[in-house]
């Protein structure tokens, strides 16, 4: 019978934490999608060998502290302004891989002007857009992507279109702009989704050095704290309610 210590050898290793992820304990709630998406970005940076050539821009929202977890140089943006920062970085440092990491409130509400024009100008950057249909950090208020009928702290009786308007499918909107080259919507609720999302992120990073324009990866995510569901129920709710409004797959790939 082999002892455990005999099995822990480099040649038996099948999986390890990427070194581009720091050892800091994440502040995200258990079941939140951010941790998985952070890991995928870190893996892509590691596997492409671009840690010293990558600058990330963190948003305002739950992911404001993304810079504590992915071991690269970071800039922290004012709410919604990440694409403007990324434009400044990339225009002055065209040899760098530059990406923004933004939530639905940051990108699709307060930052609509900045994302729209960064896409329209065809900035050679990557945008990771995490859509969980709610404001997580401020305590679960309505987001532009909140579903009709969805209960949040500011729609306690459910989102009512007469009062609150309609869910904003900003990704479809941005896909129409000539400056975007790759627009896709993915999710990380199961192993197949994780693999597809990682491929999408890698493709987006590769695109950014080909002067093709902006690559936009939406990841539909869960906010089990905000949704008031267990992690497994949140995944189920996402599949049943989010995916019909936000269908997965490539929207544009040029």
């Amino acid at each position: 019978m082999m002892e455990i210590k005999d099995m822990i050898k480099p040649e038996n290793l099948v999986y390890e934490k990427t070194k581009v992820l720091t050892n800091n304990i994440m502040h995200y709630c258990p079941g939140c999608s951010h941790g998985t998406i952070h890991k995928l970005i870190a893996q892509v940076i590691d596997e492409m060998g671009i840690q010293d050539k990558t600058v990330g821009v963190s948003p305002v929202g739950c992911a404001v502290l993304a810079y504590n977890y992915i071991d690269i140089d970071w800039q922290q943006a004012a709410h919604g302004r990440a694409p403007a920062l990324a434009t400044g970085i990339k225009r002055l440092n065209p040899d760098k891989y530059v990406f923004t990491y933004q939530g639905d409130g940051d990108l699709a509400s307060i930052g609509t002007a900045e994302i729209m024009h960064a896409c329209s100008r065809g900035e050679n950057i990557v945008v990771i857009f995490v859509n969980n249909a709610i404001y997580g950090m401020t305590g679960g208020q309505m987001a532009p992507t909140t579903l009709v009928g969805q209960v949040t702290a500011t729609t306690p009786y459910g989102r009512n279109t007469e009062l609150n308007g309609h869910p904003l499918r900003i990704t479809e909107l941005l896909a129409q702009l000539k400056g975007t080259c790759y627009v896709t919507r993915q999710s990380v609720q199961n192993p197949a989704g994780v693999r597809k999302t990682k491929r999408a992120i890698q493709k987006a990073f590769e695109n950014s050095m080909m002067k093709k324009g902006l690559s936009f990866v939406e990841v539909v995510g869960t906010c089990n704290s905000g949704w008031k569901l267990t992690p497994t129920d949140a995944n189920k709710w996402m599949e049943e309610h989010m995916f019909p409004e936000y269908p997965l797959g490539d929207i544009k790939d040029e």
Binding site: V55, W74, Q76, G88, I89, K90, L92, A113, E114, H117
Partner: protein
């Protein structure tokens, strides 16, 4: 030495930026400063020095593009006028909070609101006392000539990088639009990657290498005790700036019994008024703050013993006069004369004010 040209203040800003090795400009059109970006676009510096020039979708975007460039150790600047600067207030406090160097040229017009496109000095409070939220200061330079528009670009970048702090060149529609002879500064090359590494390599986000910790340009610190320590550090920096960077100019002050304090275009017009009053035998001098933050408080205090009354002359309803009064500490009277809403006082009007508010003061 540099060559002589006849140019508008706004055009000189563009040319001076290229010549002092600026890396990037991000801006949005607004009267009366649009010539800055127009001149840059005509000059096409991306073909010569490699400087980037980009028209942004808004002033909000411009100032945040500046943040991106500044945090990567580049020399970046923007220009705007009053309503546009209000939109930049958010970005300015983030830049100050993240301790990032940049230059912002404000060619002030009359307000409030959309106001007028005519010149004014009614944004002194906004420039000097904040504009955005939090305990921060911009370093504020006030040019009174087209020549100083040229000189303050290079000086602005020097101070911005020395203190890792945003610098505002507080001009106005008069200085921006008027044409004067100007001696351009000698050309300086843009910093190389190696020079950026040497100058800003300890903080700039230029790619994390294995030999160092990651660099994070942020103004966020959720821990109150730590945020307080950071604020104390900022205040210590402002104190150092106050001790080392005060600039001012005095005109006919040695035997003065009366003093006008004025900056920028207001000082330019006041200088003529002082000459006219002197011709009538009135012993009046002009004190011109060149830095508005740091303010030349001590230099004004030093003049107080010889003076009877001080007059603050501004194209506003009276803003800088508060700093003059703080300096004087109630020892002598401080009065105010100004025009507002884009109207400009003549030297003769100022002479009248000297006679009624200074000499004839009851």
């Amino acid at each position: 030495m540099g060559e002589y040209k006849l140019m508008k203040g706004n055009e000189v800003i563009a040319i001076a930026a290229i010549r002092c090795g600026c890396d990037g400009y991000f801006g949005y059109p607004i009267t009366p400063q649009s010539e800055v970006m127009e001149t840059l676009m005509e000059e096409k510096p991306w073909e010569t020095t490699g400087m980037v020039v980009l028209q942004a979708e808004s002033e909000v975007a411009s100032i945040n593009m500046l943040y991106g460039g500044a945090a990567s150790g580049k020399k970046v600047f923007t220009s705007s006028s009053s309503p546009g600067i209000s939109l930049m207030a958010e970005g300015l406090t983030y830049l100050a909070g993240a301790e990032l160097p940049c230059v912002v040229v404000n060619v002030v017009r009359g307000g409030p609101g959309l106001g007028t496109i005519q010149p004014a000095q009614s944004d002194y409070f906004q420039a000097v006392k904040g504009g955005g939220h939090g305990d921060y200061y911009l370093i504020v330079l006030a040019p009174a000539s087209v020549q100083e528009m040229n000189d303050f670009m290079d000086l602005g970048f020097e101070l911005a990088f020395k203190y890792r702090n945003p610098v505002m060149i507080l001009s106005d529609g008069i200085i921006g639009q008027m044409m004067e002879k100007v001696q351009l500064s000698p050309e300086k090359p843009r910093w190389t990657e190696e020079e950026i590494q040497k100058i800003s390599g300890s903080w700039a986000t230029i790619g994390k290498t294995p030999d160092r910790q990651r660099h994070i340009a942020t103004s966020l610190d959720l821990d109150a005790a730590s945020q307080e320590r950071f604020n104390h550090k900022l205040q210590a920096k402002y104190k150092t700036i106050n001790e080392n960077e005060v600039r001012y100019e005095e005109f006919m002050c040695d035997d003065a019994e009366y003093l006008i304090v004025a900056y920028g275009s207001g000082a330019r017009i006041s200088q003529k008024a002082v000459e006219l009053a002197r011709a009538e035998g009135i012993k009046v001098g002009l004190f011109r703050p060149i830095t508005l933050f740091p303010y030349p408080t001590k230099a004004i205090q030093n003049r107080v013993p010889q003076l009877k009354v001080i007059l603050s002359v501004e194209l506003s309803a009276g803003q800088m006069v508060e700093d003059v009064r703080l300096a004087v500490e109630g020892k002598i009277p401080v009065d105010f004369f100004g025009r507002v809403g884009g109207m400009i006082f003549s030297p003769e009007e100022i002479v009248d004010a000297i006679k009624t508010k200074l000499v004839g003061r009851k």
